[in-house]
């Protein structure tokens, strides 16, 4: 990381106008955050050369249209956090340009979160499971552990993971990248029937770690999953953070703006309500079989 942080911003990033008017405040701000950009690039791409290339991609993206992205800053947050947010998005853009796009299996899309990230890191960028888990877990112990388990599960479920990697995808100015400011709503598609069957088969193995997976009928899981359990966005996020991504309960509460006691109380009440909802639709016995 230090090797990258010591590098200077190359001249080609600066336009002729910037060189003549070096007093451009946005350019100066971008230069001031050059080390942060390098650090983030080095964390996102373990390979040194690729990290340098990604950092340059980010700076070019920031400098485009006379620092248009930076000029859009309205002061609602600190400039550093804003530049970090821009950098993270541009790094993902670079990864899509560099490694292409691949449609994940339906069960991974359904699980989402670190499963999607791990699929991209393992099957597109061909990272080792440990590297991918460390990256997907954001360096936090709980998420890294959960990500490591998920990484090996993905490798077990997708034998040809990474077989078609390294295929660059052309990217020009007209290409609309998913995940940028105006586009992420088309990620959800209708699942095919066979995909749904596979989804719940994998889900059964995931839920029960193969212990009683052979005895669980995927149709029972599908039936359970089709029941519309009302979840508010905050409740959904709480369940994702705590039980899918392995984030500590207190940390999840901090992300959602609650204190430790509020978070534990809400989680306890939410789980009790879910049990009650499933029992009220007549699935109490199935639930008992699945959970006990």
């Amino acid at each position: 990381m230090s090797r990258h942080s010591e590098k200077k911003l190359p001249e080609r990033v600066l336009t002729a106008q910037d060189r003549t008017t070096s007093a451009n405040p946005w350019q100066q701000q971008a230069m001031a955050h050059w080390q942060a950009v390098n650090r983030l690039a080095a964390r996102r791409f373990p390979q040194g050369a690729m990290a340098e290339e990604a950092a340059l991609f980010v700076m070019e993206g920031l400098a485009r249209d006379d620092w248009r992205r930076l000029r859009a800053f309205a002061g609602r947050s600190t400039l550093t956090t804003y530049i970090v947010a821009l950098t993270l998005r541009l790094l993902e853009d670079f990864a899509r340009k560099r490694f292409g796009r691949s449609k994940p299996p339906a069960w991974i899309r359904r699980l989402g979160g670190i499963w999607l990230t791990l699929f991209r890191l393992l099957c597109l960028e061909r990272l080792a499971p440990g590297e991918a888990a460390a990256m997907a877990g954001n360096g936090l112990p709980g998420p890294v552990r959960a990500a490591e388990e998920a990484a090996y599960r993905i490798l077990g479920e997708i034998p040809d993971c990474g077989a078609r990697s390294g295929e660059s995808v052309g990217l020009d100015e007209t290409t609309v990248l998913p995940g940028t400011e105006d586009d992420c709503s088309h990620q959800e598609e209708r699942l095919a029937r066979e995909e749904r069957h596979r989804l719940f088969a994998v889900l059964g193995r995931l839920l029960f770690d193969g212990n009683i997976g052979g005895e669980i009928d995927p149709r029972l899981l599908e039936r359970l999953a089709t029941i519309a359990l009302p979840l508010t966005p905050e409740e959904r996020l709480l369940l994702k953070l705590c039980y899918r991504d392995g984030v500590a309960v207190a940390e999840a509460g901090r992300l959602l703006g609650w204190n430790r006691h509020q978070t534990h109380g809400r989680l306890r009440r939410l789980l009790a309500r879910l049990r009650q909802d499933l029992a009220e639709v007549g699935l109490e016995e199935e639930l008992r079989l699945l959970l006990s």
Partner: protein
């Protein structure tokens, strides 16, 4: 223990399965377009209004891309945000363990403060000077001078009501000079009353000093003697108080002034060749014949000391030097007592004679 742990693990596994079952249902569509970078940054920094933050979270709950970016940005912000002392303090204070510890410490501190505050000022006044003496080394004790009479009188008189007897103080050191305070200007009446009390107290202090050999003059021994002297003073205090109050009531301010002057003169005078009384006896002479008689009665009631009669004789001679303050009969009695004291006689036989002379004086009407 293991059973409890396994129960906890089973409960957590059940909760996880239930949560994943709930999440396995249909994903909600993201609410609105993806978040702008600045909105996301403001959300992470907690700068959004509640409604806006909830709208952002509603989108994040359905958008995996924004969800991943949200988590990454939060991690970066946590690692590189400026260290806020207030935030760190709040986080520290909010920890239940810290709260428990701080509460216990506060309770302990309150208990100690209560224990230090609850005992009455009486105990403090008695103990604190002794503690001070204990902490002083012996050379320091020798070098330290007795505070002026006004300084001694102040803590005695201030906290006590006027009608209560003076609370005993640790006995002043016999070697300490007390002549300097007596040289002060003419004291007000209340100070003069204190001077009379001080006179009685000095007698007792002198007695205590004579009883203890100098070799045993260590701090602990001095403390013990101080306590003994305090008890003795407490026992004789009502009689002394009656004497002094009688003097004050008689309005003999001139006699007191003379007493002060006499104390100064006595302190400056060389020691007598015959039987020099202790310095405190010599310095604090009785102001009137009444006080001198009372001192003789008290000395005869207590255990007789060899210096007592010489001190009484010196005091009587001192009184005879002030004929204006004495009636003719008092002068005659004093001369008779002094003459009696000048004769060689066993110490045990002196007191009945002296008391007889005083009683005969009491029986005769004063002229």
């Amino acid at each position: 223990m293991n059973h409890q742990m396994s129960e906890h693990e089973n409960k957590r596994a059940e909760d996880r399965r239930l949560a994943l079952l709930a999440l396995a249902g249909e994903q909600p569509r993201p609410a609105g377009p993806c978040l702008e970078a600045e909105t996301l940054a403001a959300l992470v920094e907690g700068r959004l209004a509640q409604e806006e933050a909830q709208a952002c979270l509603a989108h994040i709950a359905g958008c995996d891309a924004c969800y991943a970016l949200w988590l990454q940005l939060d991690r970066e912000w946590r690692q590189h945000r400026p260290a806020s002392r207030k935030t760190a303090l709040l986080r520290l204070v909010r920890r239940p363990r810290v709260l428990t510890t701080v509460g216990s410490l506060l309770a302990a501190a309150a208990s100690v403060a209560l224990m230090l505050t609850l005992p009455s000022t009486q105990v403090d006044r008695i103990n604190l000077p002794q503690l001070q003496e204990k902490t002083m080394s012996k050379p320091a004790m020798e070098e330290a001078a007795v505070p002026p009479a006004a300084d001694i009188a102040a803590p005695q008189t201030q906290p006590l009501p006027a009608e209560q007897p003076a609370r005993p103080l640790p006995a002043p050191k016999p070697s300490a000079p007390t002549a300097e305070p007596a040289k002060a200007a003419a004291p007000p009446p209340q100070v003069m009353a204190e001077a009379a009390r001080r006179e009685i107290k000095a007698d007792d202090a002198g007695n205590a000093g004579r009883l203890v050999p100098p070799a045993a003059n260590g701090p602990r021994e001095r403390d013990r003697r101080g306590m003994q002297g305090t008890k003795e003073k407490t026992a004789v205090l009502p009689a002394e108080q009656a004497d002094t109050e009688r003097e004050v009531a008689a309005g003999r301010q001139d006699a007191h002034r003379q007493e002060v002057a006499a104390l100064s003169a006595a302190s400056r005078a060389p020691a007598r060749a015959t039987a020099p009384p202790p310095q405190t006896e010599r310095e604090e002479m009785p102001a009137t014949a009444e006080a001198w008689y009372a001192r003789i009665r008290r000395g005869c009631q207590e255990s007789l000391r060899p210096e007592f009669f010489s001190a009484i004789a010196a005091q009587g001679e001192h009184l005879l030097q002030k004929p204006a303050a004495l009636s003719s009969r008092d002068r005659q009695r004093i001369e008779a007592i002094v003459a009696e004291l000048g004769r060689k006689q066993p110490a045990g036989g002196r007191c009945p004679v002296l008391l007889e002379l005083i009683e005969s004086r009491d029986r005769q009407p004063q002229q």
